[in-house]
Amino acid sequence: MVRNATIPAFSLRRQMLRMSWNKYNLYNMTQRSRVVNNSNKTLYQQKWASKKDTRAYHGDQITERQWQSMFKTRLPTANTKVGGVEPHPPVFALTYAEMERRLDFIVFRSNFAPSIYAARQLVGHGKVTVNGKPMPFPSHRVTDGDIVTVEPTSILTLKKTSKSAEESAEASSEEGATSGHAAPMEFVPQPFSQPFLFVPDYLEVNYNTCSTVFLRSPISRPGKTEIPSPFPPQMHALAYEFYARNRK
């Protein structure tokens, strides 16, 4: 796993928020309910603090070098002040939009894995196909309209029932037995996971086949942000400034 291993993922002292259903992560999220007032710090200190916090959540397992090459200074602009329409949130909320195209991100956002690290493992172990073809590359950049499918047996919240195991055993022992009579797997939700169960607007998920379609890039919408992030757009703006200036 390529992440900053010197800092524990779910440290109670550092309280870095991660893309995970872990109960310590949930606790940290409830404790960090107010944005810290950094206005007495220098601009660079503010940019650094925002970058530290947002990068701990967005693409924790991506190296800085990889992110610098992925990062796009040109954000999709929108007519945010046209009269009569609800104002759009600051467009800086889309700073980390490029990451949402990655295969491991799509698997996690569709709620097939309990954390981004588990999603990365699923992809790396070859449990994920894109448009029918196996794609064991977590960094694969998906195009609009691609269908991402995950094997149901590799999903943590799906457990094989003893009934389906029996039926499949019977089916295999009989000669020329027709498959498809096995029962569907049992859905066992993870404790402390429900606060994280939602699907972003740029994905269309079919849980019957454990497949997702990546519709389009996240865009600016009136009144709400599309990219799920624990941090407000102001922090994303500072992180954007950090990366826009720091391009070597």
Partner: protein, 300 residues
């Protein structure tokens, strides 16, 4: 000198704390006769426990760090509502899933029932129930309708080839995310998103009595007028209507192109290759088969 502590699981009766059991060694010397815990493996636990508690007083009374204590307090208090899922609807931390970012308000996805209906309607009459028509009816974007149709088509194919549809997964997730059958509760979005690249503002001096229409503005900005873009979109949809593509195990089956034979010249034949000539200006394709037959591609 290493001093390891023998601790029992402290606090929580719900056994959410998994404190590791570590054996204790007297600090002075580790001798064979003093390593009694390994010798007394067969003896009942109660005896052993009592003996250990007597000798080690401070470790048992030693508290967890205050952060961990607070965590366990939260776990038994406010956090207990997250331990078991509530199947009656979403269970976010507050109004929105992220307390620091109230702007992120997720909408529950469409119900599986509605998606089945969309697929059924489209299959019943493809010319009448186009993605645009379905998007208008269900208040969702055309891209989402196309995605729903393709996913449902894939589902039918997979089930036909032996895959077991994970209905428990669908039902469970719908309950946990608060998916309702009412159309108003689900996601609402415009049919299409035509986003212009808004750059720096441009100023153009125009005579007071002259009219300045949208087309004039498009000319000045060197863009296509919005009306033209929309008309183009509709034209594209009419020329290439949305078609569900059959697939084998998710990989789309390529359609055979319709060809018309033009001529045959055996001298032009080639044992190894089949040539394809694409005229990009006239947009025609000619194919020279291995036996020398020349075909023109009518439609691919």
């Amino acid at each position: 000198m290493s001093s390891q502590l023998l601790t029992r699981a402290l606090g929580s009766a719900k056994a959410t704390l998994r404190a590791p059991l570590i054996t204790s060694i007297p600090t002075s010397q580790r001798l064979f006769h003093s390593t009694r815990f390994s010798l007394n493996e067969d003896k009942p636990e109660g005896e052993e426990g009592a003996a250990s508690e007597e000798s080690e007083e401070t470790p048992v009374n030693k508290k967890l760090p205050f952060r961990r204590r607070n965590f366990h307090k939260w776990l038994q208090g406010e956090g207990s509502r997250f331990a078991t899922p509530s199947f009656s609807g979403p269970n976010y931390i507050g109004e929105s899933p992220f307390p620091m970012n109230p702007l992120f308000k997720p909408t529950p996805p469409m119900s599986n029932h509605a998606k089945e209906e969309i697929y059924r309607l489209h299959r019943s009459d493809t010319t009448k129930w186009t993605p645009r028509q379905l998007g208008t009816k269900y208040n969702i974007s055309i891209k989402r309708v196309e995605a729903i149709l393709r996913l449902k088509h894939l589902e039918k194919e997979m089930v036909a080839s032996g895959f077991v549809a994970q209905e428990n997964f669908t039902r469970g997730m719908e309950q946990l995310m608060g998916v309702k059958n009412e159309r108003s509760a689900a996601i609402v979005e415009p049919l299409t998103d035509i986003l212009p690249q808004v750059g720096s503002p441009k100023f153009e001096a125009v005579n007071e009595d002259k009219t300045f229409t949208a087309e004039d503005a498009a000319n000045v900005l060197k863009r296509r007028p919005l009306a033209e873009i929309k008309a183009n979109l509709l034209e594209q949809e009419r020329k290439n209507p949305f078609k569900l593509v059959d697939s084998v195990k998710g990989v789309a089956v390529k359609e055979e192109s319709v060809t018309k034979p033009v001529s045959k010249n055996s001298a032009e034949g080639n044992a190894r290759f089949k040539f394809s000539f694409v005229d990009t200006s006239k947009k025609t394709t000619l194919i020279r088969e291995k036996d020398g037959t020349l075909l023109q591609v009518q439609q691919s």
